[in-house]
């Protein structure tokens, strides 16, 4: 945690700075990545997505590219998208060549936790129906808090079970929103 004194950055930063992190943050650590590979991958991915979508545009079931038809507008947008992908790659390449630093990219720290969280989310989606909302959510809450660095298991279990029950009862009983009851048959 940064000391309170280190956080008051100069107010001049307010307008001019890139805003992935606003001018002031509780953590003043520099997260920018020194690797220039990231933006190349992003640009490449954008290009591939653009090409796939271009092929999909031609597959839309309509005669020709009549401006009134369903194909014309997507075609323009996808062409612009491809153009932007190329521009993005070009900008990055030029920067790397000229200044040896590329476009904005942040370091991928704590990826283990993030990966675990994504797995937990997907599992949560699949077990929601069979296990039921209360059980699935309680387990998910404890797991995801842990993936995010919580080391207070007892607290997480209490909050998780309580929150899940509170949400389940208030949504199903008070708001008439259906949630899976699962094995408990609540």
């Amino acid at each position: 945690m940064s000391s309170p004194d280190s956080t008051g950055s100069a107010p001049e930063d307010l307008g001019g700075r890139s805003t992935a992190g606003p001018a002031v943050n509780e953590l003043d650590e520099d997260h920018s990545s020194t690797s220039t590979l990231g933006p190349f991958l992003v640009g490449g991915f954008m290009l591939v997505v653009g090409l796939v979508l271009l092929q999909q545009t031609f597959k839309i079931n309509a005669e020709g590219f009549d401006p009134l038809g369903p194909k014309f507008f997507p075609l323009i947008v996808i062409c612009l998208w491809l153009l932007l992908s190329v521009l993005y790659l070009l900008q990055h390449t030029l920067r790397v060549v000229r200044h040896r630093t590329g476009l904005a990219a942040e370091r991928f720290d704590h990826m283990l936790g993030a990966g675990a969280l994504v797995v937990l989310l997907v599992v949560y989606a699949y077990v929601l129906d069979p296990l039921g909302y209360w059980i699935a959510t309680s387990i998910f809450f404890v797991g995801s808090a842990r993936a995010m660095g919580s080391r207070n298991l007892a607290r997480d279990i209490v909050i998780g079970i309580g929150l899940a029950l509170l949400v389940y009862l208030s949504f199903t009983r008070a708001l008439n929103v259906h949630l899976p009851e699962g094995v408990l048959g609540l």
């Binding site: 945690m1 309170p4 008051g8 107010p11 307010l14 307008g15 001019g16 700075r17 890139s18 805003t19 992935a20 001018a23 002031v24 943050n25 509780e26 953590l27 650590e29 992003v42 979508l53 839309i60 009549d66 401006p67 009134l68 369903p70 507008f73 997507p74 947008v77 998208w81 932007l84 993005y88 900008q91 476009l103 904005a104 990219a105 942040e106 991928f108 720290d109 704590h110 936790g113 993030a114 969280l117 994504v118 989310l121 997907v122 949560y124 989606a125 699949y126 929601l128 129906d129 998910f140 809450f141 995801s144 808090a145 660095g149 919580s150 929150l163 949400v167 708001l175 929103v177 259906h178």
Partner: protein
């Protein structure tokens, strides 16, 4: 009926026990999410949309949503001042001066000037909204499809060019949204587009999924990867020192000017499609810094630097409602969610709204007054409660956000595929943050993209496919020219520097991403 009489009618609607309850729920929830980092008004409203499916009348829902929007702004200032973490990006200026004030033992004064300034500005701007909305609506009746097309282009372009630090990335984010908007069956020809033959995608990607994915899930992953899962240092509140509403005479004297000027910046910039509250708060901050009596104190905790931007921030919301209600044109991510909410109730914001749903419109405007009175009453006396909220352990907080995010998606359709789609969008949102792509243009693109295409095809149908129809009408043409100018605007300082023969510094003017 005059606007005044209709506004009185609006108060009549709001001041019923049921609607007052929704207003209280709205402002409390709004303050809560404003105080909490990582979740803003756009996500909160998106999460609550499914709850309102069962509502018979849209009026309570909109009263609640307006409360959430305003509440989030009041709450955001609390976090900025006490924790130095702007809960939302329009509070960045407040975070600078307000937090310095808090460190000097003036936390209460900073909180008070923010809250009272927000209140004053909200009252002024809501009066202005009540005055101008109907005339603009009348004016908009004469707008044709080409004008709407041009206006949407203008809104998309200005938001994209002003938000974030790169035009290429901003435009890419915008087009990503437009492309997501294409997914599903084309509303006019019924043809499937970008569905990859999967029936699950025929209905398109629901806006709620997109917002929850990009904001709630994307943000949580981002916070985790950045290691920001420990709570910050909350500045303690000093004992009450007297004065009226925590402000002494000198502080009142130094605050009222910035409040009024802030409201003056906020409202017009909210009306113009300039991307919400960032631009006016920034302008207000710069102005006060140059002109105010407390000039030397700036950067060390000047009360003007809190009073002005906070007033501008709140005033801009009433401004944003003008294009939203009269033209159906959202100019910020939260306004885009509100537009989605109108659609749920089969309402089309636009010139006719004041005729067909005049009850709703005036109740909404009246609820802004009522909500702000409640917020003033809620914020300062309950400040200790909001400080407690700031001390919630972050892992539990974000785990809770994920629980509510999933709940919100599940409530939309109950389909596992939708939950997985939202998670996938969340991962995209995470990568967008990692590589500094702004998020708000994607939301606007997804919501305005289909409208844009609709107006485009409608205009061409009338002109028999003649593309010159967009430039032959003076109004449409001038709006399109404005859009082109808006693209160049952020590069103006650079251009001027080059013209004067000086090396250009920095790349472009930019403002924070807003949710």
């Amino acid at each position: 009926m005059t606007s005044f009489a209709e506004l009185l009618g609006g108060f009549g609607t709001v001041l019923t026990p049921e609607n007052l309850l929704f207003a209280i729920v709205g402002v409390t929830l709004g303050t809560l999410v404003g105080v909490l980092p990582g979740i803003g008004p756009a996500v909160t409203i998106a999460l609550l949309l499914p709850v309102t499916y069962n509502f018979e009348s849209p009026i309570p829902a909109f009263i609640m949503f307006a409360g959430i929007y305003y509440g989030a702004m009041y709450g955001g200032s609390t976090t900025s001042i006490l924790l130095n973490t702007p809960g939302e990006s329009a509070s960045v200026a407040t975070a600078i001066e307000g937090h310095e004030m808090a460190k000097r033992g003036q936390a209460r004064a900073a909180l008070a000037t923010a809250a009272i300034g927000s209140f004053v500005a909200a009252l002024i701007s809501t009066v202005l909204l009540a005055l101008v909305a109907k005339p603009i609506g009348h004016l908009a009746v004469s707008f044709r499809a080409t004008d709407y097309f041009a206006l949407m282009i203008l809104a998309l372009v200005t938001v994209t060019s002003l938000v974030g630090s790169s035009l290429v990335r901003g435009m890419a984010a915008l087009l990503l949204g437009v492309i997501i908007g294409f997914i599903g069956l084309d509303s006019q020809s019924g043809q499937a587009r970008f569905t990859f033959d999967s029936p699950a995608l025929f209905n398109g990607v629901d806006v709620v999924l997109l917002i929850i994915g990009l904001f709630a899930i994307g943000e949580t992953l981002y916070v985790l990867v950045k290691g920001r899962t420990r709570p910050g240092v909350v500045q303690p509140l000093e004992p009450v020192k007297g004065g009226f509403m925590w402000l002494n005479k000198e502080q009142w004297r130094r605050s009222w000017g910035p409040w009024l000027r802030g409201a003056g910046f906020g409202f017009p910039f909210g009306v113009l499609p300039s991307g919400g509250a960032e631009l006016p708060t920034f302008l207000s901050y710069s102005y006060e810094k140059q002109r105010s009596r407390g000039k030397d104190e700036f950067g060390k905790g000047a009360i003007e630097g809190v009073a002005g931007p906070e007033a501008a921030n709140n005033a801009s919301f009433s401004g944003v409602l003008v294009p939203l209600l009269t033209l159906g044109l959202p100019t910020s991510a939260t306004a885009a969610v509100l537009l989605a909410a109108f659609k749920i109730f089969n309402l089309q914001p636009g010139p006719q709204l004041f005729e067909t749903e005049s009850d709703l419109v005036w109740a909404l405007i009246a609820s802004l007054f009522v909500g702000n009175v409640m917020l003033l009453a809620l914020n300062l006396p309950l400040i200790r409660l909001w400080v407690k909220v700031l001390e919630i352990p972050r892992p539990a907080l974000y785990a809770g956000i994920l629980v509510f995010a999933t709940l919100g998606i599940y409530a939309v359709s109950g389909a596992i595929t939708d939950i997985l789609i939202a998670y996938a969008i969340g991962i995209i949102g995470f990568f967008m943050r990692q590589f500094d792509f702004p998020i708000a243009p994607t939301i606007l693109g997804a919501i305005l993209g289909p409208e844009l295409e609709l107006q485009f095809r409608r205009a061409l149908k009338i002109s028999d496919g003649d593309l010159s129809v967009f430039v032959s009408r003076p109004l449409s043409l001038s709006i399109l020219v404005l859009a082109a100018l808006a693209l160049a605007l952020p590069y103006l300082p650079k251009l001027i520097a080059i013209l004067r023969g000086r090396p250009a510094e920095g790349s472009k003017i930019s403002f924070a991403d807003e949710d």
